[in-house]
């Protein structure tokens, strides 16, 4: 038996014993360390006669591989066993609660404003804004509601000075005036925002939200108005069919004017929009009065168009089944949590309003 073979037999049998990791590592170093037995054999290769050298080298390599593989697999085995043993000890009760997290929410009025903006964005409206404090001219006079007009009675106005020149805007319509004064037609805007009236009960809050719409161009008629609102209501309530009724009304700043009702019914205590034979008033609108256009230096013989004003809080109440308007502004933690929206729920054109 050659030396090599003996070496191999000896260590194979050693390795077959039950060994721990350090014993195996010892064997590994005995064989393959700097002056290990196998390493020494490799150093011998140069001294072997040329005729036998090739075979010797080949045999040595085979033995080296065999022993090395065995050692590695033994090490693996032991390491696996160790890991398995550790895993047994490391088990946690995974039903324990996760680390605490908090979730913020977006107020339903903000969400509704974003929904509205998204819908009108698709048909080309831009968002405009105006200040909450207005002068009497923009809020009333320019809107064809001169002083002593009985329509002013319908707006219980908060004033900031005794002369009643500064006030909290009673509607978002003054944004129409500001927009038209600052630019040239065509105008195609919506203006959501806070509005104020000194009125407070179950259905009235001294502050509420409106969105104004204004579309002035060369040939915009009542058909366009009806089409726009019909589109909006369908999109907003996310239903295909809508029962909508245009009914004549009066606002000083539009002529002709209309109020719009939508059909609804109550099913199992919940309001269902678009069905049933009850009517619910949701907005006022009309063709912008020529006097208003004249007040903002737009020629009413060349330009015409429509305007509308929608109560945002009311829309949110209808869509999300909220009963009390005042609860919107009560800041009750439970209410905000219940009716609020996840900040990642951003209404957009491409993904739609709802998840």
């Amino acid at each position: 038996m050659s030396d090599l073979k003996k070496l191999k037999e000896e260590f194979l049998s050693k390795l077959n014993n039950k060994l721990n990791l350090s014993e195996i590592n010892q064997i590994k170093s005995d064989l393959f360390g700097k002056s290990g037995l196998v390493s020494l054999q490799f150093k011998k290769i140069g001294t072997i006669a040329e005729s036998e050298r090739k075979k010797f080298a080949s045999d040595l390599n085979i033995i080296k591989d065999e022993l090395q593989n065995l050692i590695n697999s033994k090490i693996n085995e032991i390491e696996n066993a160790e890991i398995n043993e550790k895993l047994q000890k490391e088990k946690v009760d995974i039903t324990l609660p996760e680390r605490p997290f908090v979730r913020g929410k977006i107020h339903p009025v903000s969400q509704t404003i974003d929904e509205i903006s998204s819908i009108f964005s698709e048909i080309g409206f831009s968002v405009e804004e105006g200040p909450d404090v207005e002068n009497e001219y923009n809020n009333f006079t320019a809107l064809n509601t001169p002083d002593n007009h009985p329509a002013r009675d319908m707006h219980d106005t908060f004033y900031l000075d005794e002369k009643k020149e500064k006030l909290l805007r009673t509607h978002t319509s003054p944004v129409q005036i500001r927009t038209m004064l600052k630019d040239q037609p065509p105008f195609k805007i919506i203006a959501p925002g806070r509005t104020y009236r000194s009125d407070s009960d179950q259905t009235h809050s001294p502050m509420f939200h409106q969105v104004e719409g204004l579309y002035i161009d060369k040939n915009i008629n009542m058909g366009h108005l009806k089409g726009c609102l019909n589109y909006f209501i369908k999109e907003f309530f996310e239903i295909d069919k809508i029962k909508m009724r245009f009914r004549p009304s009066h606002f000083p700043f539009t002529e002709p004017s209309a109020e719009v009702d939508i059909g609804y019914e109550i099913k199992d205590g919940k309001i269902i929009i678009g069905e049933g034979n009850k009517w619910l008033e949701i907005l006022g609108c009309g063709m912008v009065h020529p006097n208003v256009l004249k007040n903002v230096k737009v020629d009413p013989t060349k330009f015409q168009g429509y305007a509308f004003g929608i109560g945002i809080d009311r829309l949110a109440m209808l869509k999300y089944g909220i009963n009390d308007l005042r609860s919107f502004f009560d800041c009750d933690y439970r209410w905000l949590n219940h009716f609020g929206f996840d900040p990642l729920d951003v209404p957009t054109n491409y993904r739609g309003l709802s998840r």
Binding site: S126, Y159, M207, F329
Partner: protein, 801 residues
């Protein structure tokens, strides 16, 4: 405006049903607010005769009556009325009937041991009059009606219409009938106008003063002498009751009736109480009179008054005075039918805070040509009911009504409405509404009816035509889906971004009112001006908010009271710096209370602190695109923050626009509003002070440039004076070589043992990496030395050996 279908039928011939009527009213813009069955069950009230009365066995004042109600058997009714006696014809209400006045439903009841089947009614219980003494006594004419329903017209519902302020004509039944007829709902009945035929002169002198802004243009009147003011006849009472009005006396009822029927307010004076004659004039400052509402009014200069020699009798077109009021014993009446200027009416009523039916009508505009019609109609009725002699009509005027005419281009109709109707149809509608017209080439020359003050230009004609044709004829034109301009501008995008950015950090969005309680506002007002609301809805909402904190803290406290402890809420909205439009700023304001990780099995709980809100502010600004590398923070904060635990943030050093404040809320405020929480921190980000990037997202991405060369981390500990800010130290380090120093971390701040008094140790870890090569020991040593030198020079620090 309250109407009944029955009353409408006085003016409108139609075979259609009430259901159609309600629909049609709404369709032509006379919105039906409510329909009430006032007279439901009125048919139950029957004419009855007492056939026998007996004393109640157990009560002295009660009687037990046998009542004939037209049925086979007599009803036994217990009654307490003194006038209940045998043979009296009265009104009987059976069990089940609802008494109109008290709204109580009758049941068969035992009254002191005797069973009573129903009740005998007084006039007051039936809302017929104020007569509550005893039961109603009907005349012997009713003896043939026993068992029949007392109320003749019991089927008509009370319809309440919401009449828009532009339609005074529809404050009269006839105006409503006219609109309905024009829309095809029946035919307007042509009433034969009866006129006063008299030779008697109106002897009371009427004078209209020609003063500037005198509010009365025309004053028509007639005298009716020797009348007997009695209760109104049944038909007239029925009419007023049917629309929910209470009959008073014939003369008052007649003027009310004419007002409601044709929207012509009238006023009746007791002519004997007028001293010498009537003068219509502007009031003098300080004049006083007692009005029919029994209140005394002190007048300002220039109000339109009806006066006599002794002084003010009443406010023209608003309210009469007690001195000249009619009563049941009034013998001679002066009947007034005038035209008062709407603006004058409104100004006066507003100043005196008076609201009457007449004022409501005059301020909207009464038909100036209805003066004589009103006098004719009312005077003849008075004569018919109360007797007497009518004088000729006297008309005084200082202005003459001029008819309005409008040149109307029929093409405008389609241009505005988007649909077509023929000129023939247009003319039919306009004619039915009372317009007169001439065709003038392509245009129509229209004369506006005197009762339509709202119509003054072409578009008003379009409105009439669309309204009467029906809004359902307007065709839907689908909107085009195209966008030529961006929907939101940069500032609006930032608003929406920050709103959702803050919410995503665990804050609940609140929306609170723009006004607040001045007591709360004062805590957060700083040096800002207080902006008062002149007419607040309550003293707790009396000022515009100077900061959002006032409301958030108030509501936070309410939530703490509800038992919540760890709350984060925020609001994004305006705060106000002045009372002029535009003197407002958009702010995101957040507030957090209590602890982090309260009662967690896994994490240590701790109070929320200033570095929590600092993180929220900086992270959100960062997310919004502002680089925190340049942020500069100092400690100049408003006095509602804790002076030692708060900061002011600028986007860059050297700018003067404050981007945000953050910090602990001053403990004094917590104490003053009695707020019980372990910790209260908040922040305010001022959106208007954030520079808007002109760049697109694409432009904002710099060229991708990272280093693959080895990086080294070196730790330094410096000892500095306590008052040196870490910010200064970091700035000093990064100023060494920005191309090499890629990150600086503070990992320890220490004061105390081993550190001299008034000094502190700051330990930082600096990451050094080059974009060009792997730095060798030599290079690194150079940088180290430079860092130490620079920090020591700039901050007075000493490296800790």
């Amino acid at each position: 405006m309250k109407i009944t279908f029955d009353w409408l039928r006085d003016h409108l011939k139609t075979s259609l049903k009430e259901k159609n009527l309600l629909e049609q009213l709404t369709n032509i813009g006379l919105e039906v607010e409510s329909v009430q069955n006032l007279s439901s069950g009125n048919g139950l009230f029957k004419v009855a005769k007492i056939t026998k009365t007996e004393k109640h066995p157990n009560a002295d004042r009660l009687k037990v009556c046998d009542v004939d109600v037209g049925e086979k058997e007599l009803k036994k009714v217990v009654c307490g009325a003194v006038n209940a006696k045998e043979g009296l014809i009265t009104i009987y209400a059976p069990p089940g009937a609802v008494i109109p006045k008290t709204k109580t439903k009758l049941v068969v009841a035992k009254i002191r041991g005797v069973t009573s089947y129903g009740m005998l009614c007084s006039e007051s219980e039936l809302n017929l009059s104020n007569e509550s003494e005893g039961i109603a006594e009907l005349s012997s004419k009713y003896k043939n009606n026993i068992g029949k329903s007392y109320f003749s017209k019991s089927s008509s519902n009370l319809i309440d219409l919401s009449i828009t302020p532009n339609r005074p004509d529809c404050l009269g039944i006839r105006g409503i009938a006219r609109d309905l007829a024009a829309s095809g709902f029946g035919k307007l009945i042509n009433l034969k106008k009866k006129k006063i035929k008299s030779n008697i002169k109106q002897t009371l002198k009427i004078k209209l003063n020609k003063e500037k802004n005198q509010g009365c243009d025309v004053f028509g009147s007639c005298l009716i002498t020797n009348v007997k003011n009695i209760e109104s006849p049944q038909w007239l009472k029925d009419k007023l009751i049917s629309i929910g009005q209470k009959p008073i006396s014939a003369i008052v009822d007649i003027t009310n009736y004419v007002m409601i029927d044709i929207n012509r307010p009238l006023h009746a004076y007791d002519a004997d109480k007028i001293e010498k004659g009537i003068i219509v004039r502007n009031s003098k400052s300080g004049e006083e009179f007692t009005a029919l509402d029994n209140k005394s009014y002190k007048l300002e200069k220039g109000m339109c008054v009806i006066s006599d020699d002794k002084g003010v009798l009443g406010l023209g077109g608003i309210i009469g005075g007690t001195r000249s009021g009619t009563e049941f014993n009034t013998k001679n009446i002066l009947l007034e039918s005038a035209y008062f200027n709407p603006e004058s009416i409104r100004t006066t009523a507003k100043k005196l805070n008076l609201d009457t039916d007449a004022k409501f009508r005059f301020e909207r505009g009464i038909d100036p040509l209805s003066i004589e019609d009103g006098l004719n109609k009312a005077a003849l009725l008075i004569k018919e009911i109360c007797g007497g002699e009518i004088s000729k009509i006297d008309i005084q005027k200082i202005k003459t009504y001029k008819t309005k005419s409008i040149t109307f281009d029929p093409g405008l109709f389609e241009k505005i409405s988007g649909f077509k109707i023929s000129i023939k149809e247009m003319l039919k509608i306009l004619e039915n509404l009372g317009f007169k017209f001439k065709q003038k080439k392509k245009n129509l020359e229209l004369v506006v009816p005197s009762w339509r003050p709202d119509i003054s230009q072409e578009v008003d004609i379009v409105e009439e035509l669309v309204r009467i044709s029906g809004y359902n004829k307007i065709k839907i034109i689908e909107p085009v889906k195209e966008r030529k301009k961006p929907t939101l501008n940069k500032a609006q995008k930032l608003f929406h971004f920050l709103q959702r950015s803050i919410a995503s950090k665990g804050y609940l969005e609140a929306i609170t009112w723009s006004f607040t309680d001045s007591n709360y506002n004062d805590h957060f007002r700083g040096s800002k001006k207080e902006i008062k609301i002149i007419n607040p809805i309550s003293s707790e909402l009396d000022v515009l908010r100077s900061s959002i904190f006032s409301n958030l803290i108030m509501y936070m406290n309410k939530n703490l009271d509800r038992g919540f402890k760890d709350l984060s809420i925020f609001e994004i909205g305006p705060i106000f710096n002045g009372s002029k439009p535009g003197e407002q700023n958009i702010v995101v304001c957040g507030l957090s209370s209590g602890k982090k990780s309260r009662l967690s099995w896994i994490e240590k709980e701790r109070n929320v602190d200033v570095f929590d809100v600092k993180k929220d502010v900086i992270q959100s600004l960062n997310e919004a695109g502002y680089s925190s590398d340049k942020f500069f923070i100092d400690t100049e904060v408003p006095n509602y923050y804790h002076p030692g635990k708060s900061g002011r943030l600028f986007l860059e050093r050297g700018t003067d626009q404050v981007a945000a404040y953050f910090g602990e809320i001053h403990p004094n405020i917590k104490k003053k509003i009695d707020m019980k929480t372990e910790s209260l921190v908040g922040f305010e980000i001022f959106l208007d002070n954030l520079k808007l990037s002109e760049k697109t997202l694409n432009d904002q991405k710099k060229k991708f440039n990272v280093s693959d060369y080895q990086k080294s981390e070196r730790d330094f500990a410096f000892i500095v004076n306590k008052n040196v800010n870490v910010q200064d130290l970091i700035n000093a380090v990064s100023s060494v070589d920005q191309s090499l120093i890629s990150n600086i971390k503070v990992f320890d701040v220490y004061e105390g043992e081993n550190i001299p008094v008034n000094q502190k140790s700051i330990a930082i870890s600096v990451t050094i990496q080059s974009l060009e090569k792997t730095l060798n020991e030599n290079d690194l040593e150079k940088v180290n030395k430079l860092i130490i030198e620079t920090v020591e020079n700039k901050t007075g620090a000493k490296i800790r050996s």
